[in-house]
């Protein structure tokens, strides 16, 4: 009941919801009405105008009140003594739930996973600059992945002694994050804390999304002030942009007249919940669909118009179609990793996205459609429908048939992965681990994937009601376990499986402890080949036949000697785990993982994966640095 009262007084819930909550708690209607009547004067006294509340208290209390008004339910933070007044404010604000994370990096990854899976706002709190720099790896990911995540840390230096190079002080702290954020600001007075926080949320959540940072001197948290707190809806611009109608007409004409149009999808489709709209447009045009690297799968992989991902991130590398004359991108930021543009100069290019800043930078763009892609797809589909006639329907049907023939052939070819002569070996090949997990996963499982050297197959991801993928785009390692914890927090009724390489895993295992404490039943599968296999292969590609290959002296890739035992690491964080070397052991372990998650507990499987590829020795060389042997005193 205390939480209900707090939520009512902070205007987080309506009178009706408040009364309903009391009734659910077993309080009679008459008693509930009486409680409400007693609270009304207090509630009115706090309200200066619709959605505006005047609060009085410490700066940190006002901070907490603004978070509530901004719709924040969970706060992710690491212990910070200068946030004492904030913690004090939490005691009487149970609707603001604080999640203590033992390291800022995985903590920020957890917050990002929560935002991605829930679409709800949250904030990550760090202790001064020393905690901030730990979180900045995930801030980089949020920036690259356009995740609307708000970061906060105070400045340990107080207003009366700043600029003296004191303890935990760095000049211009807020400028550290400038290249990685959409907005960063330092509140100058305690009464400006809520305003600064509001702007951070507004900037993060106005498309194109991205991280923001708010900061202030730590003594402002302790100062007593009276200031305004404003609910989110009163400052959110609710930007939902429709595309320019003239450009929509041009795009529709190009698509209808195209011999072979091609649709590239991206994460704006998933974020706008527009997957069914993308399917509708593709089916109307009988148009093949692909995707360059993104976080989510944005089109059902089992759909007959799905032709697979872009190999080598270039349209020209597609096996089919070889002759796309019009390419339309819907919502893909298009990460160009080569001098060759993803869409070559030969095809006419239509670019539909809300992120106008990154449009037209690399590719020559025939039709720009700046839009919320849900609106954009609606408008474009309507415009195409206006142009459809009998002969076009015939052309589109014939094209769809051609695409279907290819997609069926490609599907059969992908299934050949099980014919690998090493399929049954132990330790396993990575493809076998993937395949076993794909056979095991629920039809609507969410797969969080941070096994960088592993390409997933066999899952048949379907963001339109089936299995979903949460991959990474930013590549600051150590995000996987935290992301999975955040996804499970947001969607507790979906099976969540985290696939992570051993290299990535050891960058961020502390979120396992959060899984144990918060009873987040996630299954974590570590592809453990005791190596950085991606960098191993890429280094050889850069220096083929060099001294490293000749001598077998690779300095950068082998994580064994001694081998790390991930199951024991998990146990240290309170998560049960086990080791699986063969496919049979993996299947059996997955069965126990399912049982654990049904009981509400996370589970980790340390899957032993063979090091396969060029120039791996049976027992890899390690640099001969053995300090114990060099000692002159045995201490």
């Amino acid at each position: 009941m205390r939480e209900l009262v707090a939520r009512y007084l902070s205007h987080s819930i309506s009178r009706r919801t408040f009364l309903k909550g009391l009734s659910t708690a077993g309080i009679s209607a008459a008693a509930a009405r009486s409680i409400l009547d007693s609270l009304v004067p207090t509630a009115h006294a706090q309200t200066a105008a619709e959605g505006v509340k005047v609060v009085e208290g410490s700066g940190a209390l006002c901070f907490a009140e603004q978070l509530i008004a901004s719709g924040v339910k969970y706060v992710f933070g690491n212990s910070a003594s200068e946030d004492a007044q904030f913690y004090e404010a939490l005691v009487d604000r149970p609707q603001l739930k604080y999640i203590l994370t033992p390291h800022e990096g995985p903590g920020a990854a957890m917050a990002a996973g929560y935002v991605k899976a829930s679409g709800e706002p949250t904030i990550v709190m760090q202790a001064a600059v020393v905690g901030l720099v730990n979180a900045m790896g995930q801030m980089f990911n949020a920036f690259k992945e356009q995740t609307p995540l708000v970061f906060y840390s105070y400045r340990t230096d107080q207003t009366g002694r700043a600029g003296r190079d004191g303890f935990e002080e760095v000049a211009n702290q807020e400028q550290l994050v400038a290249p990685l954020t959409k907005y960063s600001w330092l509140a100058r007075r305690a009464d400006m804390i809520p305003e600064t926080v509001r702007r951070a949320f507004k900037a993060a959540w106005t498309p194109p999304y991205g991280p923001t940072y708010a900061s202030w001197h730590s003594d402002l948290n302790d100062q007593q002030v009276k200031t305004e707190v404003i609910v989110q809806r009163q400052f959110d611009p609710r930007m939902r942009v429709r595309p320019n109608p003239a450009e929509v007409e041009r795009a529709a004409k190009l698509l209808v007249e195209a011999r072979m149009p091609l649709l590239v999808v991206g994460d704006e489709v998933y974020n706008a919940k527009a997957v069914p709209k993308a399917i509708k447009l593709a089916e109307l045009l009988g148009m093949p669909v692909t995707q360059a690297r993104q976080m989510f799968t944005n089109f059902p992989e089992g759909h007959p118009l799905w032709i697979g991902g872009l190999p080598v991130a270039r349209v020209s590398s597609l096996e089919f179609p070889k002759n796309a004359d019009v390419v339309i991108n819907v919502g893909n930021k298009m990460q160009h990793n080569s001098p060759t543009p993803i869409v070559g100069r030969g095809a006419k290019f239509i670019d539909m996205r809300i992120d106008s800043w990154s449009m037209g930078n690399v590719m020559s763009t025939e039709v720009p459609l700046v839009a919320d892609v849900a609106h954009g797809l609606d408008d474009l589909t309507a415009a195409v429908e206006q142009l459809v006639n009998a002969s076009f329907k015939e052309k589109a049907a014939a094209r769809a048939q051609e695409v279907r023939r290819f997609s069926e052939k490609a599907r059969a070819m992908r299934a050949l992965v099980t014919k690998n002569p090493d399929w049954d070996r132990a330790p396993m090949i990575a493809d076998r681990v993937t395949w076993e997990v794909a056979q095991f996963a629920d039809p609507d499982a969410i797969i969080v994937h941070e096994a960088g050297s592993v390409n997933l197959h066999s899952f048949d991801f379907n963001p339109d009601g089936g299995r979903e993928l949460f991959f990474y785009y930013g590549a600051h390692l150590g995000s996987g376990v935290g992301t999975a914890a955040g996804v499970k927090l947001a969607r507790p009724n979906r099976q969540v499986i985290c696939l992570v390489g051993d290299g990535s895993f050891v960058f961020g295992p502390t979120a396992l402890w959060n899984m144990a404490r918060l009873e987040l039943p996630v299954i974590v599968v570590v592809y453990n080949n005791h190596a950085y296999s991606g960098p191993h292969s890429r280094v050889i590609e850069k220096v083929p036949g060099g001294r490293m290959v000749q001598t077998g002296h690779f300095f950068h890739d082998y994580l064994g000697s001694p081998d790390m035992d991930m199951a024991w690491i998990a146990k240290g964080f309170g998560v049960d785990g086990e080791y699986a070397e063969s496919p049979a052991q993996l299947r059996s372990a997955l069965g126990r993982a399912r049982k654990a998650t049904v009981e509400g507990k996370p589970f980790l499987i340390d899957a032993q994966v063979a090091r396969m590829g060029v120039a791996w020795a049976e027992k890899p060389w390690t640099p001969p640095i053995r300090i114990a042997q060099e000692r002159t005193r045995k201490v």
């Binding site: 014919k419 690998n420 197959h457 060029v614």
Partner: protein, 80 residues
């Protein structure tokens, strides 16, 4: 004037059955240099090619066999 169409140059890859398939399929992503010092038997190469299927390569079983035969013959294990 456009240059005459030429076959990909691949020093170290002698003519033998399966070479054309290999050059067309693998050099989209890989430079030939990566393989020159690598030796393994046909089964080892076949495993490599199937791992590429796991990474999204679209090949028929006949193409996989041709490439494994070629690599096993040309880049098989060095005599001890």
């Amino acid at each position: 004037m456009a240059p005459a169409q030429q076959k990909p140059q691949a020093p170290g890859f002698p003519d033998a059955p399966g070479k054309e398939t290999l050059l067309n399929k693998c050099f989209q992503c890989h430079s030939p240099g990566m393989w020159l010092d690598h030796r393994q038997d046909r089964k080892g190469w076949e495993g490599v090619i199937y791992r590429m299927v796991g990474r999204g390569a679209l090949w028929t079983e006949d193409e996989i066999k041709a490439m494994a035969d070629y690599l096993g013959a040309v880049y098989g294990r060095k005599p001890q």
